[in-house]
């Protein structure tokens, strides 16, 4: 009974199934926020699985997802900007929730891997994921308000 795998399956059930439900239904604005949240959930699941199976090599999966996940959401925000009708009220709450969920997972896997470069790598993945998530969700919420309000260079 591996605690990591239990957490991974709980996070999978609590995170991925609502994401699938949110992405398949509702207005476009809700769907893109759900997809953005889905990236974070799966990246955290990858970190937990890397610990659960005692294979540090699996953190590369979380690394690539932390790098490319938010880019995928930015692609949606950029190419569907015309149709992003209205942003869900719970948009900010979901982003705050996922970023808040990132912290314990990263801290727990750092504690498990012990001090060293592997821990720094996990922290780097966590920071990358949180930053990407925040930027993507701000872009999505920014897309609804008139563009002049968001700062342009």
């Amino acid at each position: 009974m591996n605690a990591w795998l239990v957490c991974a399956s709980l996070l999978l059930v609590a995170g991925l199934l609502p994401v699938v439900w949110g992405t398949a239904r509702g207005p476009l604005g809700h769907r893109v926020v759900a997809q953005n949240c889905g990236t974070s959930v799966v990246c955290l699941v990858m970190l937990l699985l890397a610990q659960g199976y005692e294979r540090p090599a699996y953190t590369d999966l979380a690394l690539v997802l932390a790098v490319l996940g938010p880019v995928g959401t930015l692609v949606f925000a950029r190419l569907l900007s015309g149709e992003l009708d209205e942003e869900p009220r719970w948009g900010r709450a979901v982003t705050a929730l996922t970023v808040a969920a990132t912290a314990p997972v990263v801290i727990a896997s750092c504690a498990a891997t012990g001090p060293g470069r592997a821990a720094v790598k996990v922290v780097f993945i966590g920071v990358l994921l949180a930053a990407g998530n925040v930027i993507a969700s701000r872009t999505l919420s920014g897309a609804h308000r008139n563009p002049t309000e968001t700062r342009y260079d």
């Binding site: 540090p56 690394l63 470069r117 592997a118 720094v120 790598k121 780097f124």
Partner: protein, 60 residues
Amino acid sequence: MRRGRLGATVAEILVWQVALSVLWLVLISTVDPLELFVGLGCALVGAVAAVAARRAVSGR
């Protein structure tokens, strides 16, 4: 002015290369001379791309 800008660009590439080499060190599991050499090469490629991207965006 041309020499000034060239110096600035080379400096920026070096800064990016150092930063990306540190990132490479964090990513790899075993550290040995060949890894460092390949890491510096990849960091140089990343640094040149970073500077080229920044200048393409800033319109210069």
